[in-house]
Amino acid sequence: MRIEVDIRKTLRSSGREFALNVAFTCDDECGVIFGPSGAGKSLTLRAIAGLETPDYGRIAVAGKVLFDSSSGINVPARERAVAYLFQDYALFPHLSVEQNIAFGVRNWWQFRTHVAIRRRVEDLLDLFELRGLGRAHPWQLSGGQKQRVALARALIRRPDVLLLDEPFAALDPLLRDRMRDELLKTRAAFTVPMLAITHDPEDVSALAQTLVLLEQGNVASVVDLKGPPYRDAEGRASERAVRGLLGRVAGQEPVASKPPIRAVK
């Protein structure tokens, strides 16, 4: 699956100006955009989802052109077949877990939910270990449960691509490793390609096959992380190599490693 992005957008607010000029192609199942905050990661992801309109350029996902300024194409967000996982999940607070999951496949004028939809929701509740929580409301859920509901809600529509906005930033550090594993399993089970943005080096080593490094609105480099030195023959990521890469390309001091939690385990 291929994601092609080549966009420009200039934002102005109260005298300050930010220019986004991003071009990359991702052919792998797991792409990660890495960069410090303010590098334009969110803007890029939102443009792919159709939540922001670039000034110029072209966006294509899975062979479908979603945006092309030269031919005036701008597919509205609702028709893009793109799933978006918001950083704090944006679960609808007035709806139950079941209603949240069914939201994207149910019409508002239909009072009763179709049997087929109910069955799909049940299956997803099982798959995401949410059995028994169907009637609960978002404020009653833990962080990990919220993320699972948000994933189920996004995937029920069988999207072409799953976009993730800082997927683990809202979670407890201890929970992050587990949710990363879960996400990889989910991705494989649904065979859905994904593109995540993050500023956490651990997300890069855990998820990335293609890495896009973003710096001040520009692509610093696009790196293939599938082979050595970043991954050994068994496909395990080398965190040292990844950290070294992130530090070097970002032109900063190497990203500090986080000893305490790992050491305890």
């Binding site: 939540l51 509205p76 918001f86 007035h94 019409n107 508002w108």
Partner: protein, 224 residues
């Protein structure tokens, strides 16, 4: 004092205030949504105009309405010639006057409610394939309904107590346009204190109940 002297103005008041609230709510929600969500030139001026009925003397509003919907006014003349409707000195005229006076309460409440809805929920709905209508019906409105309903209840209370504009447009015809507040005035003028006392108590009870109910609605739900 006969029960008719209280019941007739009471039911008339409820009818007038009910229709006025309905009209003010529909218009107030539409205008509030447009001003909260759209960016267009003259937005601030429109906002000020929509709030104006709250600060202007009701008699001035009533005068404007008379100029517009009176028999020789542009709207009134058209209504009479094409549909054969006269609004002046009718309960429908009273309802329009009350609607105009009550409108800012719905508008203000609905605008604050719409602005309090996080845009992210609407964006999440769009990415999940929802049309703008569906986003409004399934997300924006359910998340804003408390504020809108509280504004609506205040508007109903205000419409029930309307005096000045109603008197200007609809006059004080017993059984036809004489609402509670006007009946109180007439009773005091006629020296009938027993009628006035009773009318005052009825009006107070209804208004206090509405305020208590809307206060409950505005309080956020308890979330453990």
């Amino acid at each position: 004092m006969s029960s008719q002297e209280v019941l007739i103005p009471l039911f008339l008041t409820l009818k007038v205030a009910g229709w006025a609230t309905l009209g003010a709510t529909v218009a107030g929600v539409i205008v509030a949504f447009a001003i909260a969500r759209l960016r267009f030139p003259g937005r601030e001026i429109l906002d000020a105009m929509m709030t104006l009925p709250m600060v202007m003397p009701p008699t001035v509003l009533g005068y404007y309405l008379l100029v517009l919907v009176g028999r020789r006014g542009p709207i009134g003349a058209w209504l009479e010639s094409t549909l054969g409707i006269t609004l002046v000195f009718t309960w429908q005229g009273a309802a329009i006057a009350a609607a105009v006076v009550a409108f800012p309460l719905v508008y203000k409440g609905a605008r604050a409610a719409f602005e309090g809805v996080e845009r992210q929920f609407e964006q999440a709905a769009r990415v999940l394939g929802k049309s703008e209508t569906a986003v409004f019906v399934q997300v924006t409105l359910p998340l804003a309904w408390r504020g809108i309903l509280a504004g609506t209840m205040l508007a109903f209370a205000r419409a029930m107590g309307e005096f000045g504009a109603t008197l200007m447009v609809a006059g004080s015809l017993p059984g036809k346009t004489q609402t509670l507040s006007i009946a109180v005035y007439e009773a005091v003028q006629a020296g009938r204190d027993d009628v006035a006392n009773f009318l005052v108590v009825v009006t107070s009870v209804v208004c206090i109940s509405i305020l208590l109910a809307s206060g409950r609605l505005l309080r956020p739900p308890v979330q453990a």
